[in-house]
Amino acid sequence: MSDATTQAPAEIATLSRPRGAVLLVCIAIFLTALQYTGLLPAALHRLPEALVPNFADWLDAIFNFVKDDLGLLVLTRWLTEILQWFLDVTGNLFYGKRRWPNIGPIPWTAIAAAAAVLGYYLGGWKMASLAAATFIWTALVGQWSIAMQTMSVLVIAAPSAFVIGLSLGIAAWKSPAFDRGLKPVLSVLQTLPFFTYLLPAVIFFKVGPTAGAVATTIYAIPPMILMTTLGLQKVSPEVVEAGHMSGCTKLQLLRHVYLPSARTEILVGVNQVIMLCLAMVVLTAFIGMPGLGAKLLAMMGSFKLGRSFEIGITIVLLAVTLDRMSKAWVAKQPEHFERGTPWWQRHFMLVIGTAAFVFFCIVAQFFELASEIGRRQSLSMGKEMDVAIKWFLNIEWVKASTHFMRAFVNVQILIPFRNFLLSIPTPAVILLVTAFALWLGGRRQAITAAIFFSLVALSGWWDRSMITLYSVISAVSLAMLLGLPIAILAARSEKWSKRMLLVCDTAQTFPSFIYLIPAIMLFGITDIAVIFSILIFAMVPLIRYTIEGLRTVPLEVIEAAEMSGATRMQRLIKVELPLALPTMAVGFNQAIMFAFFMVIIAAFIGTQDLGQELQRTLAGTDLGKNFVLGICVSLMALTFDLTILKWSSDRKRLLGLGE
């Protein structure tokens, strides 16, 4: 209260908000009580079928109009031809697809050597060995050609996402009106389930690598736009002034002043692009993306756990290598040479890299093993891993504990919670969510929440939406119970923080599909398996941001606490956690977003939620329905996103923590 009394206008807002929230909760409880006593009219419990507008058919009609009558299909098919040409070229270079220029495939030794030199240039010996090890592993386990099929698409998709994202980012920075228009689109794009991208991608861009490349690109663009705009806005006026004084034209100003000054943010955007591209490797396999993802799905279809795992490891290694390399690139300052330094000296590493590349290309002509390692020579351990996994699942205490969890957590907690959530009347749920948004965010957030959830009710998919929400809430709550203690412990030392963050990176890039199989084998086809697989994914941002928040508490504050004689526990609870809370809230928000993402994938275990319906629309005839379902997920996710982020930034301002 003491904060509030010092600021008169803020006082009114903070006082009325909790009251308003309590009032809404009371009405919700009243409605639920009516429902339980059987006094509530059925129309207030669930929206009557007759009142549900037929959004799906309308959308189908609009879609067909745009596609055929406005000729969008002709345009996109023309673009597809161009894209196909590029993909054919990279396809030839990387895995020897029989297309122009007909010189591929590049031998694996040459690529590994070039990557190692690049690694050395960016981050010294450590990076060089990481890069080399990744490519050598890929070749040795016999996944070279499928990994290169994946890469041949990514080397087109990632740069496209970069170029498009950069241009849109610049446009958004130049024109505030455009920025305002773009922001909501980006938010929706970031929360839309991937199944909703896939179907239009197939129809407009032809099943195959082209659709895969397009879906990947669209998925990877948003952070690039956001980071570009952010970086450009932060450029200090002095630098711009200097540019003006030296007589730069507008374009020169952008090219030589703004972009170099925003270098760090732009490169962070590049890093994000790469990571998101890799996250899509498996999902795009549904629409024709060749390579690792397709192989993984085939392996899972014939119950080969070990080999699926190996593919997962390859994807993680590729992701970690590219991630570390691009981060090293962020940190690396541009080198400057004296005037008159010869060309080869200025580009020494480039010369070495090219030399190594050419050398191995020549060697590969004489030694077949240097150019390709087939399945027969490979060192795949798939079968051994199968045995190990089965052995683990058959250990007595593992079985006993999973049985306990099924009997207790599932039957006693999760299923009753789900049934309860389904029993609450629709208006009561909307009121509860509105109250939550009002309490944490404010009036604007509350109104948005009410509108968004009402739209979900109007879509006619209310029950399935509630089951989706139930999985998300349960998984995120459990993730907090498990993740926060781990993060707090890890944050106590630099070393453990680093290790934990590496685990997080791995868990995040490891294809989520692979979790599903062990989850089923442990818990059967039950809600707990679904929640378990979401939980692994949702814990990552929680841990990451908690560590981040705790490690960045200002040192002076900690010292002050220690001087006033706080114990370790007191320091944690009274000083560090409150200060870290806004950052942790961002992590919590991310956890919810990740959970909404994963809950859709978990449909492959067996659920009754929106994800299951979305999976059904993949047959390709129900585009309207596919879109309605996707928007339902997006609206629910956005409600949380807007509210929590608002709270976090308010809180940060209050604590004087920048922004």
């Binding site: 032809k206 629409i287 085939a298 399945r375 699942l393 067996g606």
Partner: protein
């Protein structure tokens, strides 16, 4: 002078198709690949036959449901495995919209029904009779299903009517839907460790027969109309009171423009027909013998020259 030559050449070229020199287009025939091994090998076999015929072939990985929309649009040229049970609905929907044609059946028949791995029979010796299964229901209970047995059905969108059958035959089972084929395998794999009895939805031909020997549960035999007329079948008041048809079709489908664009490849496709043992063998090569699908296709073609040479001529 020059003009007349050009006109002449153009005229000759235009007349070529009528002259009986109908030739396949040099554009690649796009063959879809899904996520189960027999289909991948079969597609590679067919691809290699087409290549021997002088066609260009390209493979594309797609979802097995989403593929029908792509065939319709001509992005994918054909589909080798259209299962009556699993893909019949998507195939028919695409047929109604137009753009896809039925290129005939394989010799192979498909069966989809309740199935159990052999170890289940040790615990419940009366199997495969469905009444015996019902008496053993207690063996199949799980923490979630209480005192009822659990039957693990395929994904809801496969529309297998497991729940309806349980009700129609008054069985002591609860139906749980798995989300994907992989989920079914994982459940069988988990039960295998200590030989827990399990009854799941399964189909033939597929790789599972080779990994886990098992049998289908014998329900009252399928009678035409069992899914439409309550009077048909043992329960006069209910639908779905029979087993599934034991002989479902497996079709080939193609884009409607294929016949015109690649006439000779199309006529080969019409001839192609695989049998159940051939499909099982293809699956085994990849799933048990750990060959890569392309290799397996080569080996299969080598070993079965007499089979496929009849299709080509």
């Amino acid at each position: 002078m020059k003009k007349t030559t050009t006109a002449l050449v153009a005229g000759v070229l235009a007349a070529l198709p009528f002259a009986g020199f109908a030739q396949d287009s040099s554009d690649p025939i796009v063959i879809p690949i899904h996520n189960w091994s027999s289909q991948i090998v079969m597609s590679n076999v067919v691809g290699q036959i087409f290549e021997a015929n002088g066609n260009n072939v390209e493979f594309v990985t797609t979802d097995s449901q989403a593929v029908y929309e792509s065939v319709r649009l001509g992005d994918v040229t054909l589909e080798m495995e259209v299962w009556e049970g699993a893909f019949g609905a998507s195939f028919r929907a695409a047929m109604e919209k137009g753009g896809i044609v039925d290129v005939g059946d394989h010799d192979a028949v498909t069966r989809e029904d309740w199935w159990y791995p052999m170890w289940t029979k040790d615990a419940c010796p009366g199997l495969p009779d469905w009444k015996a299964l019902n008496e053993c229901a207690a063996l199949f209970t799980t923490a979630e299903t209480g005192d009822k047995g659990r039957y693990l059905d395929g994904p809801v969108d496969w529309l297998k009517h497991g729940a309806e059958r349980v009700e129609a035959l008054d069985m002591n089972f609860t139906v749980v839907n798995a989300g994907s084929a992989a989920a079914l395998w994982a459940a069988i794999g988990a039960a295998e460790a200590d030989k827990t009895p399990i009854v799941v939805f399964n189909w033939t031909p597929n790789f599972a027969e080779a990994v886990w020997p098992g049998e289908f549960v014998e329900f009252p035999e399928w009678v035409e109309g069992c899914d439409k007329d309550p009077a048909v079948g043992p329960n006069p008041n209910a639908l779905y009171d029979c087993g599934n048809p034991a002989k479902g079709y497996m079709k080939k489908a193609a884009w409607e423009g294929m016949q015109e664009k690649w006439p000779s490849a199309y006529s080969i496709l019409e001839q192609i027909s695989f049998t159940n043992p051939q499909i099982a063998q293809m699956a085994k090569m990849v799933d048990i013998d750990e060959m890569e699908p392309e290799e397996a296709a080569e080996v299969w073609l080598e070993e079965n020259k007499d089979v496929w040479s009849a299709w080509v001529n």
